[in-house]
Point group: C2
Chain length 209, copies 2
DNA sequence: CGCTAAGATGGCAGTTTCTGCCATGTTGGC
DNA sequence: GCCAACATGGCAGAAACTGCCATCTTAGCG
């Protein structure tokens, strides 16, 4: 239960504990979802496995599906941080695409730590519509923030432009991750970055044609 | 209660009745959602207003939000029908875009019947995340069908290409509808088709750059 | 015209999700 | 060592959904 006391200081103990239980609940949820599916898993079971009360579970996650989406939130957070460093005087789309190429490369086809976690979640998502559902629920308000943030940077009054750009940059990523997760489910050896590049090519070719 | 018996034959009485109650429940839901919001409306209330039992409500709609999304389903159905007539020997994206331009024009800025209904729903959607959520829930499985359908037509093995195309065609529509509904909420006079064209321009310019 | 199978509806019981409230600990700063 | 803030658990209860059964209407068929 006690985390190594001589490690990362930075955050007060309380916050580290909170983050820790959040991870534990998430891990419990992911495990049970993989074993018997999302629908057949109750919050009570997740809570029991994580060693907390059901009431506490709902203090961490509004709905049970969200417990399994930590890697997804992580990606969004990093995307948000990147936006701050964006060059407003250059074309935006290539910069967004460069970020994603870099990010996906860092997943190392599921061999890095973050990659393994994300792959696990994405595989589950392919078989569980309710998980994708929950991811959307997470994305929608977050996307609004990002739109506002980016609109401030590039100076887009009605946000229409940045919304199109964010969608054009995001859709290929989403499709690539899906295709990737689905391929690995079949035991295939595929390269995530290559898939992403193919998605981008299709988009670019189709629009240019 | 009894529908005009001398009217539209075509469908057996039972089916017409079913469609009729579906509309009545939908109308009841939309009205209550507009009045007091989705969260503050219970299924019992919707059912009472529509003159059916709560049990019956759930035979028509799995979750209460779906009751308000009839116009959304209608759009998807028409899109699906259009796909069948697609020319496989020509660029796909322009054909999809032409369909949407045509479809949005037919909404006549909310003056046509379909337009009024859709505008009503989309306005609600801007203020109610749970409605957008439900629309996504509706879209995801439907999108899979459409992907399969289109992949069969253009001959795309792994579906990656058509997924990108459908997303590239669909996102501008979605953004345009949102922008449109939001603008009319502020009492502005805007042209939906013009907004859509702007969305497309942004996409095309960004990708070409 | 009647008979029957299929579909539509309602009621009821039961599970699950999710929320508000309060009581009890635990932590962090002073 | 003391007090305020936070974390947790338990409990009660609303609301969302599901399965089952009983009843009624419709559609097809001899």
């Amino acid at each position: 239960m006690v985390t190594a006391s001589g490690s990362l200081r930075q955050l007060p103990l309380r916050d580290r504990r909170r983050a820790q239980t959040e991870r534990e609940i998430g891990e419990a949820a992911l495990t049970l979802f993989e074993q018997r599916g999302v629908g057949a898993t109750t919050v009570d079971e997740i809570a029991r496995l994580a060693g907390v009360s059901p009431r506490t579970f709902f203090r961490y996650f509004a709905v049970k599906e969200l417990a399994a989406l930590a890697p997804h939130r992580e990606l969004e957070n990093q995307f948000g941080e990147m936006l701050d460093g964006l060059r407003a005087d250059r074309p935006v789309l290539p910069q967004l695409e460069a970020f994603w190429t870099d990010m996906l490369r860092r997943l190392d086809n599921g061999r890095s730590d973050a990659g393994r976690q994300l792959l696990r979640m994405r595989r589950l998502m392919c078989a569980e519509p309710s998980l994708r559902q929950a991811a959307n629920r997470l994305d929608n308000p977050r996307a609004d923030e990002l739109v506002g943030q980016l609109a401030g940077i590039v100076g887009d009054e009605d946000h229409l432009g940045v919304r199109v750009l964010l969608s054009a940059a995001g859709a290929p990523v989403d499709i690539a991750l899906d295709t990737w997760a689905d391929a690995t489910l079949s035991g295939l050896q595929v390269d995530l970055v290559a898939i992403y590049e193919r998605c981008r090519s299709v988009l670019h070719d189709a629009v240019r044609a």
